[in-house]
Amino acid sequence: MTEQLQHIDQELFEILETVSDPEIPVLSIMEMGVVRSAHIINGIVEIEITPTYSGCPAMDVIAEDIISAFKEKGYVAKVDLILSPAWTTDWITAKGRAALEKYGIASPLSADADKEALLGNKKIVKCPQCGSLNTKLVSQFGSTACKAFFQCEDCLEPFDYFKCLK
């Protein structure tokens, strides 16, 4: 789908990769898929980011972190928040998903599976600690807007599941 394409100048990519999500520090904003475009226009780096959730308090911090990361490299950057097209968990990269799992957050399933999991109908969310599928939904809402709360019934560890957003 063309609307999902990111337009990012190659030389800016590396700097953007150093900016992490303040709520999930193991994940860069590039892996998260929130940066939609980055270009140098008349000497200024113009960047567009999109929120994961409307009320995500991390967005203001991300915008500030981007500006200071570019400042360190001698660039002047400007960040705009765009709403369309709306962010989806499909934009989290494969590397990002692996980082989430390693950090202890189960990464989003497909939309159909997600619904079953969040209604507590099927045991399909894998425990990021021990890999067991014997897990249960504790709460549809978790520590942040983007997550639900689960518990593993084998290793008994509680964990976050990153909800699928389509």
Binding site: P51, Y53, S54, G55, P57, L83, Q140, F141
Partner: protein, 250 residues
Amino acid sequence: MDKDLVQYIFGIADNALILGQRLGELCGHGPSLETDIAMTNISLDLLGQVRSYYQYAAKLMGDDTTEDTIAFLRKEREYKNVLLVEQPNQDFAYSISRQFLFDSYHLLLLEELQNSTDATLSAIAKKSIKEVSYHTRFSSDWIRRLGGGTEESHNRIQEAITHLWAFTDELFHQTDADKTMVSEGIGVDVTKLKDAFYKKVSAVLEESTLETPQLQYFQKGGKQGVHSEHMGYLLADLQYMQRTYPNMNW
């Protein structure tokens, strides 16, 4: 400045602001940790949506208005939210019933608003639908759980639904700004959502072994800025910091 468009935006966004404020009151006071976190997460989603609407309205107004002055410095009569969302949190049955009734309406509204000829409103609606679908799932689930739970939970949720029912009709009243915006292809004709709303809500109530209230008389006024007695107290809480320490920032 397009006055009707600004008023139209307030008509939609003020609902989310006031309901967000009501839900925020539950922070640390929910009946259980999970419901507490859920209600405040929903509040956060709504406040995020409000920011997008108010930022757009502030841009249209073009003076020194900002999203914060719209949220914190208007007078009671200038808020155009429906009476439903300002009703207080009496117990969890009331809070979740108010949520269920509003969510059911909100989702129908956004599904239409995403087709607006106004690109900003359409983008906000598309973003919000994803969040509100989840809210609807959560609140409907609790109606089923409490309706089909114990005798106590059943009676209390029925009482809350019956009480709040009087505020549902207002959701489908058109204001003058609504009519103008509908004619320009920007706004949603809420009168057309009414049948779908009652059908959807009644179906969930039936599943939950609850009765759909039959009322002849409904409350109205919020859309014209004429609010219930609860609104003043709510605004006193909401506006306290900005009124006491003007222009304060985090």
